[in-house]
Amino acid sequence: MWDNLARLVRYRGLIQSLVVRDLKARYRGSVLGFFWSFINPLLLLMVYTVVFRYFMVRPGSDPNDPNALGGPYAVFLFCGLLPWTWFTSALLESAGSLIFSGNLIKKVLFPAEVLPLVSVLSTMAHFFFGLPILAGFLIYYEFIDPAAYIHLHFTKLLWFPVVVAVQLIFTSALALLLSSLTVHYRDIKDLLGNLLTFWFFVTPIIYWYKKSPIPKSWLNWNPFFHLAVSYQEVLFIPDNVFGHKKWLLAMGAGSIVLFLGAYWVFDRLRDSFAEAV
């Protein structure tokens, strides 16, 4: 297993070109090309904002409540929605990645774990393409419309790459696990879609967790809760302390363990791929 992990490093050139290929192939032939990477999250954001701003009562908007959430809702939403989109698309794509590229596994000597990891990384690239939009909002409210009281804290922003790294490890672990199991159980992909919808709503992304009816002791069991809150605290909450960092670091450690476990499972199932896909 360790040898295989080391070999993976040797294949970074391949991973890199496959990610680039994925990105190039995705928008080839569409008029707006790469702009879709920006437009997609923007459209998604508009839909959610319209629905929760105007059609439904926004949770946590009571100005007299100390737990209430200040600031523009769209930005808050974006902080959680953008990483969530990365997470779900990475999992959905990687689950089918081995079957989709079955030809490669059967015919070319090739470390199969490259495929789910490429899915995770190319969806991460889309996540990065969405960041400028978020940054644009943040800068707008910070400097042009200070009444909205968003205050960026530079020390907190330094945590942002850490949050992304934790999410990357966590997502990769799940991607390895799902892709190897999907080879044997084809319907995982279908179940996964529904499961992710449920997961989305029990995670404080469209609402602020302090206003959620779900007790904190329950939320703590939800790994993505910690990621979402970390993003929200780092980018949006005007407090100058990043209160959730202990949870984030614990989750980082847990993700590494989970990754190793997932890699072990993947390694065990590896020999069956060429025959089962």
């Binding site: 070109s17 192939a25 590229s101 044997h184 159980y185 020999d271």
Partner: protein, 454 residues
């Protein structure tokens, strides 16, 4: 320095590969597995298939090694084991040198992106670095004859272009060991020649080639050694001519058994059908095997006639009198009909017609054409037609036999019920091979590497 020929590039020792087939339920789903609490059970294979059984062979460095065998004999499995794509269930596979496998050309090409980008990604997959690909890029494109289209998306390529590009990338990996699986049918004649030249170049540069193919001529021409696999077992190994000889002999034997079985089946279905009682009913059927129906493809096997004289059996005999269905072109053949007339008959004609697979009547004759005038026949009798040398080109032929009256009313007519197969080392075309020889004036010269045919 040690002699390089003593070095081993590939060594399989006592390799067994068992493919695990899971039960049919396994195809199904996680849902059913959860419902039936059978996840663990389902992950256990319940059916196994022995693809390779205790196979050992060594390939010396710098040699070209052929693997022959029927479909499903384990050839491709052996190649995948050498390539490292699958692992042996038991035994060891040792490989010394960089491998490039021409197992499936262009596996991993992405249809949406250009040929240029695909060359890079495919090359990296096959183990090259970006710089190495950059250096070889022009060679690859030139070899694939695709310089005009290299920036078009691969989805616009024809299948030939696709394969050529895949071949060009794989062969430019510059491996120490090249694994080739039936991939030379990738282009037109010109491209095939280029591929063969490339193989020749590989050989000259002392590279090792492992070739899996059905083209025995290629094995004979290129390989230094060969192995014959049959149902996962090694049947023969060594000199390619000897291995191929053994293989062809076995294929012929199997084919003969198969022909006999299919004829027996046709005859059985026909004889269970009731014979038409009235000759009038049979009248529209051709009464003479020399007159084939207008469209042979629509002709179905059958047997009809009044059975005043019955053909009880049809046998093909070789020169030594042994029954056979497989003959070499130019061999002698005797067609023996056992017939039976329950009551004496005074008016009869025996006829024979030979048809090739396209339904062309190759030859037909009967006793009336050859001016035998029937006098009497009663009880059991034997009719033999001896051909001294059957000069038909390779292929499968149907032999119709019949006995009928002078005016054409059938007694017993066998249509498409009997098959012979002609074999020939020379792949000439047409139907008939007249005895012939070439002579040349001294100014016409040929290379003297023409195989000696017995």
């Amino acid at each position: 320095m040690t002699a390089p020929s003593k070095q081993i590039a590939i060594e399989l020792s006592q390799v067994t590969k068992v493919y695990q087939r899971y039960n049919t339920k396994h195809f199904a789903t996680l849902k059913s597995a959860l419902l039936q609490r059978s996840i663990l059970r389902d992950l256990q294979p319940n059916e196994t298939f022995l693809a390779l059984n205790d196979v050992s062979f060594k390939v010396a460095k710098g040699s070209t090694f052929g693997v022959v065998g029927r479909n499903g004999s384990g050839k491709s499995t052996a190649l995948k084991l050498v390539a490292g794509i699958t692992k042996p269930t038991s035994g060891t596979v040792a490989v010394d040198g960089r491998i490039s496998a021409l197992i499936e050309l262009g596996a991993g090409f992405h249809p949406e992106i250009s040929g240029r980008e695909n060359v890079f990604i495919n090359g990296i997959m096959l183990g090259l670095t970006k710089r190495e690909i950059q250096n070889r890029f022009d060679d690859i494109v030139e070899f694939a004859e695709l310089s005009e289209f290299i920036d078009a998306p691969v989805k616009t390529y024809s299948s030939g272009m696709y394969m050529r590009l895949g071949f060009a990338v794989a062969i430019n990996v510059d491996p120490d060991i090249l694994l080739v699986d039936e991939v030379l049918a990738v282009g037109d004649e010109g491209f095939t020649h280029k591929c063969l030249d490339k193989f020749g170049e590989f050989k000259r540069r002392g590279k090792t080639v492992l070739l899996v193919t059905h083209s025995l001529a290629m094995v004979e021409r290129f390989c230094d050694e060969a192995v014959w696999l049959d149902s996962g077992r090694k049947k023969a190994e060594g000199d390619p001519k000897r291995v191929i000889g053994a293989y062809i002999g076995d294929v012929n034997k199997q084919e003969a058994t198969f022909l006999a079985a299919s004829d027996a089946k046709a005859q059985k279905t026909v004889s269970t059908a009731p014979a038409p009682a009235k000759p009038a009913e049979a009248a529209p059927k051709p009464a003479d095997p020399t007159a084939p129906p207008a469209d042979m493809f629509q002709a179905s096997e059958g047997r009809w006639g009044s059975r005043l004289i019955e053909i009880t059996s049809v046998t093909f005999l070789d020169q030594s009198g042994q029954p056979r269905q497989l003959f070499q072109t130019g061999e002698g053949l005797t067609l023996r009909l056992n017939v039976k007339a329950p009551s004496p008959v005074r008016d009869f004609v025996f006829g024979v017609g030979i048809f090739n697979a396209e339904g062309v009547c190759v030859y037909g004759t009967n006793t009336s054409i050859e001016e035998y005038q029937s006098d009497s026949l009663s009880g059991d009798a034997v009719v033999e037609l001896a051909v001294d040398a059957l000069e038909l080109v390779e292929g499968t032929y149907k032999v119709d036999v019949a006995v009928h009256s002078e005016d054409g009313a059938p007694y017993d007519y066998h249509r498409l019920l009997h098959t012979i197969r002609m074999k020939s080392p020379v792949k000439d075309i047409g139907v008939y091979r007249p005895k012939h020889r070439w002579t040349f004036s001294p100014t016409v010269r040929f290379k003297d590497n023409r195989p000696q045919r017995g």
